[in-house]
């Protein structure tokens, strides 16, 4: 297909996704950019439909907010792969598809005669994406997001200075997300190649590998010199302890101080802000801050060599902490950023989506649920394509598009 004047980047591609918590994001990323993603659910629906939280706290097949989030812009059909009729429907559906995404237990599809190995001869243009624990030739131990992040590396680096507290898994199923974040570029690469070669292929994604490839300095310090990082509160795990970067502001909110001020422009801006706020007398580091005028730029790795640079650098950090004790986090965030210093307020996800910047950019998007005659706000586009914009419609009801598997040629 060569759509001209298409409205979406992936218009015309049909993707078959076998409903699963593990690959739902991959399908969503393609669907929200215009691919026709048909999620194949078992009788009774995907298990994630039964997961809370539910809209209005009312359990029900169409009410799971997990389902609502991960299945936007998709279509749903219900097919029982365990029956011959269902298997035939699935095979017929595959004959119309460009891409398959599945994260089934290893061996399940093979036993049903519905695996890539059995279908590749007939479907030579099909791009088949398997997301598994550690590859299709591996084993398939029982695993969840938590266990994948524990053995895949991220957990080792996350937690607190106090090592009596357990290390922490970052929230919101990022092991599955990360596997999908590798699956999608791989699918796009395979589609690029198919455009010229007319050949499909198998994409084999390892969830354990994806977690391993997403740990930044824990891996880099080991690969380059076999040094082990240790977790620290709210900042990078490191091979030796580093200074705090997270403070609690006057309104109780947490704040990431980012890169401390390092040059004379920043030291002067901080000093003037203290003056504007009338806090000179209270601020014990104010005088030292004046010495910052002498520094074009203080290199973080040169602090030991120049004691005065170290003092000035420390004064910059102390002044930010001092301001945090007196200002709400949002004011500190705006005040420092407007003065050119990188820092961040620690928002909860629902606070981020209401921030005026992201509202003005149109990040929160309203999705209409005609069945409820209501509109709800979803997180919006992860990227803004000028010509082929990201778009979203509500997740499908179970079997809402069943007609797509009826009357398919065998």
């Amino acid at each position: 297909m060569t759509p001209k004047d298409s409205e979406a980047a992936l218009t015309g591609y049909r993707v078959i996704e076998l409903a699963s918590e593990r690959c739902a994001l991959a399908g969503k990323l393609l669907a929200d950019m215009g691919a026709e993603v048909i999620v194949v659910e078992p009788p009774g629906g995907c298990e994630t439909r039964a997961w809370e939280p539910f809209a209005d706290d009312v359990p029900g097949l169409e009410n799971s907010l997990h389902w609502w989030h991960y299945n936007t812009s998709k279509k749903s059909v219900m097919v029982d792969l365990e029956t011959e009729a269902g298997a035939q429907q699935f095979r017929s559906l595959l004959a119309t598809a460009d891409v398959v995404i599945e994260a089934e237990p290893l061996g399940r599809l093979d036993a049903l005669g519905l695996d890539w190995n059995q279908l590749r001869e007939d479907e030579s243009e099909l791009i088949w994406t398997s997301i598994t624990h550690h590859g299709r030739d591996g084993a398939d131990p029982p695993a969840t997001d938590l266990t994948l992040l524990a053995e895949g590396g991220p957990v080792w680096s996350c937690g607190y200075d106090d090592h009596q507290l357990p290390p922490v898994r970052g929230g919101a199923n990022q092991a599955f997300h990360t596997a999908c974040h590798y699956a999608v570029p791989a699918i796009l690469v395979a589609l690029m190649w198919r455009e010229t070669s007319s050949r499909g292929q198998l994409i084999d994604v390892s969830m354990l590998g994806a977690a391993n490839a997403t740990t930044e300095f824990a891996t880099l310090w080991w690969l380059n010199g076999e040094q082990e990082v240790q977790r620290q509160t709210g900042r990078h795990a490191h091979i030796r302890p580093t200074e705090w970067t997270q403070i609690r502001c006057a309104d109780g909110r947490w704040f990431n101080t980012g890169m401390p001020p390092r040059n004379k422009r920043e030291f002067a801006a901080l000093r003037m802000w203290i003056e504007e706020l009338g806090l000179v007398a209270e601020c014990s580091s104010y005088e030292i801050l004046k010495l910052g005028d002498q520094y074009e730029r203080i290199g973080v790795f040169e602090l030991d060599a120049d004691p005065m640079a170290g003092e000035v650098f420390q004064a910059g950090r102390d002044v930010i902490e001092f301001l945090g004790q007196r200002l709400p986090a949002y004011e500190l965030f705006l005040g420092l950023q407007e003065r050119g210093m990188a820092c961040g307020i620690v928002y909860s996800p629902d606070e981020m989506i209401e921030d005026p910047h992201f509202v003005e950019r149109g990040f929160p998007v309203d999705v209409f649920y005609e069945d409820r005659n209501s509109t709800y706000t979803h997180p919006g586009a992860p990227y803004r394509f000028e010509r082929t914009p990201w778009m979203v419609t509500r997740a499908p009801h179970l079997g809402e598009h069943q007609v797509l598997v009826e009357d398919l040629p065998e």
Partner: protein, 418 residues
């Protein structure tokens, strides 16, 4: 003159795609590394006047090899494997001319400067389109190119803080633990690679280029959608008592679900009992009077007394070996895993052994880097060259691609243009 093309025996999917690449750090360079691994010719453009130090990873540890220096940044080498490197001092008009020529023969321009930098250099999207109508331009920064905070600065931990990812990672009654690394530099890079590829695919089918404005914080803001909807649909704010507790599982609800200490110092095991059937298996492995009690048989009951249950689990795991215990639980059918230390997962875990590869760095020699956790049966990824040294491929790019002769290239170098 050597042609610095990766030696591969299989076709690569992105052969023939050329990226004029201004990215740096992980958030940008991580994206074009993926493109390079699949065969794109990624030409990284650096400023010779500061020796490429805009990308701070060039000159910070850990070091590749034994000595520090701007060609020895281990992170830099990791994130830039497989790419070419050239220098251009864009303060010179001649350098701008050369850049225009390079853009003309490129499919995409990628950058992760602060918003507005490319416009100030004279290479904003409008100018790029004048050079090549169907160019793809992907810009990536923290807050995006428009809106009240478009001048604000960001890096991984800030993107994580503002987006909610820091908040949602932690234990109750504690500060946010956040992510102990720049999760959003990795993940922003994945979205950037995805954006380039989607735009390339669209262009291959329609001939149409475009600009993609990628705000890392918005990409991050899509990553906890269920919790966000709980707030927007149900009015249930995340900032509430007992939350967040990210070692527990909220969607779906599971108990016990967490990370507990085991024998030895700083040794931990993660266990997830997904449902009542898992509980039955788990209780058999535990095989203590408490695990057989009727009161723990249903998920609803376990969730109601989760604090108490966790104390029992903690006491049970404390004297045990994390590896042996995890294996016993997995054999029984219960998800469990030791919290692996970096050395354990990189050097001793055969399941991911093919992820760690060795590339050849022109100065430092063989160096280990991360590969990609995917395998493609027909057009797999391949990386064999380490990060380019500063201007390492000036001869190839300015000579072979842009047609300058050796004398001209030498003069440009003497004049500080390249």
């Amino acid at each position: 003159m050597t042609v610095p093309v990766e030696e591969t025996f299989k076709p690569q999917a992105l052969n023939g795609i050329r990226i004029c690449d201004f990215t740096g750090q992980l958030a940008g360079a991580g994206a074009t590394k993926i493109l390079a691994a699949f065969g794109a010719e990624v030409i990284r453009v650096e400023d010779p006047t500061n020796k490429g130090k805009w990308d701070i990873l060039r000159g910070i540890p850990p070091w590749v090899g034994n000595s520090p220096g701007l060609e020895a940044g281990g992170a830099f080498n990791n994130h830039n494997a497989g790419k070419l490197g050239i220098t251009l001092n864009l303060r010179h008009d001649r350098a701008k001319e050369l850049l225009r020529e390079l853009v003309h023969i490129s499919d995409a321009v990628t950058e992760n400067f602060a918003a507005g930098v490319m416009e100030r250099l004279g290479f904003g999207y409008d100018e790029l389109r004048e050079i090549r109508e169907d160019i793809i331009y992907v810009s990536h920064n923290g807050f995006g190119s428009t809106g009240p905070y478009s001048s604000f600065k960001s890096w991984g931990p800030i993107a994580q803080a503002v987006s909610g990812l820091t908040f949602t990672s932690g234990l109750p009654e504690q500060p946010p633990a956040g992510w102990g690394y720049s999760f959003m530099d990795h993940t922003g890079a994945y979205y950037m690679a995805t954006a380039v590829l989607m735009a390339l695919l669209h262009r291959r089918r329609t001939g149409e280029g475009q600009w993609v404005d990628l705000a890392c914080i918005e990409a991050a803001g899509t990553l906890h959608g269920t919790a966000t909807l709980d707030a927007t649909v149900n009015g249930r704010a995340m900032r509430r008592s007992g939350m967040p507790n990210s070692n527990r599982s909220q969607s779906p609800r599971m108990a016990p679900h967490g990370i507990w200490a085991t024998q030895g110092e700083n040794q931990w095991i993660a266990i997830a009992v997904r449902d009542d059937s898992d509980w039955h298996l788990f209780a058999e492995v535990v095989n203590e009077p408490w695990s057989q009690e009727q009161r723990w048989q249903s998920a609803a009951d376990r969730l109601r007394a989760e604090d108490e249950l966790e104390l029992l689990v903690a006491a049970w795991t404390a004297p045990q070996d994390r590896h042996a215990l995890a294996q016993r639980l997995i054999d029984a059918g219960v998800p469990a895993a030791p919290v692996l230390r970096p050395g354990e997962r990189i050097d001793s875990d055969e399941r991911t052994a093919d992820l760690w590869i060795t590339v050849d760095h022109s100065e430092a020699g063989p160096a280990r880097v991360e590969g990609l956790p995917v395998r493609l049966s027909e057009t797999n990824w391949s990386l064999s060259r380490g990060a380019a040294c500063l201007g390492e491929h000036n001869s190839y790019v300015f000579g072979q691609l842009l047609g300058l002769d050796e004398q001209e290239i030498n003069e440009l170098a003497e004049e500080g243009v390249i």
